[in-house]
Symmetry: C2
Subunit: 333 residues, 2 copies
């Protein structure tokens, strides 16, 4: 295992120290329990958004804390759910009196620990709602999941619901928009290589020099099929067909297309993938009205990509375009 | 070789098609010869900035075209200098009457081809100045270079000189600022793995499972030393010592610290490196007043990082903070 770290035990703490040192204008980092909040938290009268999950998916979620996106993020150990006390403390810290929305990716441990924290927070008089993302069309039920896994849509949801909270929407309104994003978004991933969880010290799975895994999960969970390496054209066709047919997305519709790198994939390849996706959708009469291209929900140093499509309407476009100012996503501010 | 591409022959063209499809609001892509210009080029009365180099270093340079940064970028084949006609056509297309600054990384082919294009442009009545970046302290003379290699400072220079041009500085003023950035910036890189040039189809160099290369070039050129893998703490100490001692950077000074991923390195590791760098500099009385953390000057899918320090004054800080709106770097706009 070759990584730019000191030890697997100190990795997350040192990463958080790095974030704290780098972005004091945007975020504040709390330690023990670990969570990251907006520098100006709590924002009185604003609905607060709290997300979290295992570390190793950076910039998600800590990189998305800031004005126009998340109020707090709770990073667990690598690929490990945050504990209820992390989520509870984050929820209390960012509560501005208008309620708190928990944004949870559908993994059993995450759902359980966020629910426990929500119950405890409610016991302390805080109004808490939750949305669980489950956009991965690859498989139903998985290594750590009952139902579908939550993946790329989570990034888009955090941006869009964050904008809704920022403009003053109520907790029920923000929750409704968050659910709308999840319902209108679908994703699928693929991997060329495994990642290595630092504590394990060896690759999560073995894969041949001429093989790829279609439908991979963000923790290296098995996907739909292991197969021989194919061209970008064929890979995009397989993934995009599965996504488009699932909702379905239809001719005449507008989408946000999110081409995501898994952590070890260079940007030049993501633009090739985007080009193929654009050609694929155009041929089906689907217009890419917005896009996001880069490594935003990663699996350590895994090579591969995921594609997420989100059906857009005018409101979602407006919320997507609204200013955002976080370490990992920033425009208009 | 496993890559998300269709073929090594079509890679750069398809990447450029992807950029054109993704960012029509920011840039326009010209094909044959290939170059990317600001969507609103030429900007009358503004000094225009043109850079370029081999592909495989994305987002540099094409991702840095847009308001507040480059007017044009000329991508060569992977790790191959752009041709004089690419640079000439880009120069003519973005010339707004106030002159054009060529920003060149110090590689023999790049310098030669940009000089040839500058001569041809001058013959057509365009005022052309040039700055050659040579910030890599690792080695003097290298596989493709006489003198020091140009690396991370190029990204910072393009942002800062771009802001100077945007505020209306003359060609000689923008050139002076560009030279100031190069003179006050130093870098060093390291690699955990090689990259694979698509056309070659196999890794550029062999490296053991427990080895790293300190002082690597962005094309995999040999560095200072091949050695056994060390901790992030030891790696940063080696690199930062070489950088700080070179200029030198002294106690009481402010710097911009740029921690760059080589393409295959996840963000979580870059924050660990940043944390070590911050500790190292603080102990020497050097303050990080600005920072940039992410993969901005890459070497395909190489795993590793580079560190760049730039000595700051009030003017450089102001120019760094100015709005920028490009596919790869964006804030305040």
């Amino acid at each position: 295992m070759k990584k730019l770290i000191n030890s697997s035990e100190t990795l997350v703490t040192e990463e958080l120290q790095g974030i704290a040192a780098a972005h004091p204008d945007l975020v504040k980092v709390h330690f023990d329990p670990n969570f990251i909040v907006r520098a100006d938290a709590p924002v009185n009268g604003k609905v607060a958004l709290v997300s979290g999950g295992g570390s190793g998916h950076e910039p998600m979620h800590g990189g998305f804390v800031g004005k126009g996106m998340l109020d707090a993020a709770c990073p667990g150990a690598v690929f490990t759910s945050p504990t209820p006390d992390q989520v509870l403390e984050a929820t209390k810290t960012v509560n501005g009196g208008a309620g708190v929305l928990h944004i949870i990716k559908n993994y059993t441990g995450d759902v359980m620990n966020f629910e426990m924290a929500a119950d405890l927070a409610r016991g302390q008089g805080i109004q808490v709602a939750a949305v669980v993302t489950n956009d991965d069309v690859a498989v139903k039920d998985s290594l750590y999941t009952a139902g579908r896994r939550g993946v790329g849509v989570t990034v888009l949801l955090e941006k869009i619901a964050g904008a809704a909270a920022e403009r003053g929407d109520s907790l029920s309104q923000v929750t409704a928009i968050a659910n709308k994003v999840n319902e209108n978004g679908r994703s699928m991933g693929m991997a060329l290589t495994s990642c290595t969880v630092p504590h394990a010290g060896r690759p999560t799975f073995e894969i041949g020099d001429d093989e790829m895994e279609i439908g991979i999960g963000i923790h290296g969970e098995p996907g739909r099929e292991r197969m021989k390496m194919k061209s970008a054209h064929e890979i995009v066709e397989m993934m995009a067909t599965a996504i488009v047919d699932d909702l379905p997305y239809s001719s005449g519709e507008e989408v946000l297309a999110f081409v995501n790198g898994m952590g070890g994939t260079p940007l030049i390849e993501l633009y090739v993938v985007y080009n193929e996706l654009n050609t694929f959708l155009t041929a089906r009469g689907i217009t890419i009205a917005r896009n996001l291209i880069g490594s935003y929900i990663t699996s350590l140093e895994m090579a591969g990509c995921s594609i997420t499509l989100l059906k857009l309407d005018d409101e979602l476009k407006q919320l997507w375009d609204a200013p955002v100012k976080t370490p990992g996503l920033r425009w208009g501010a």
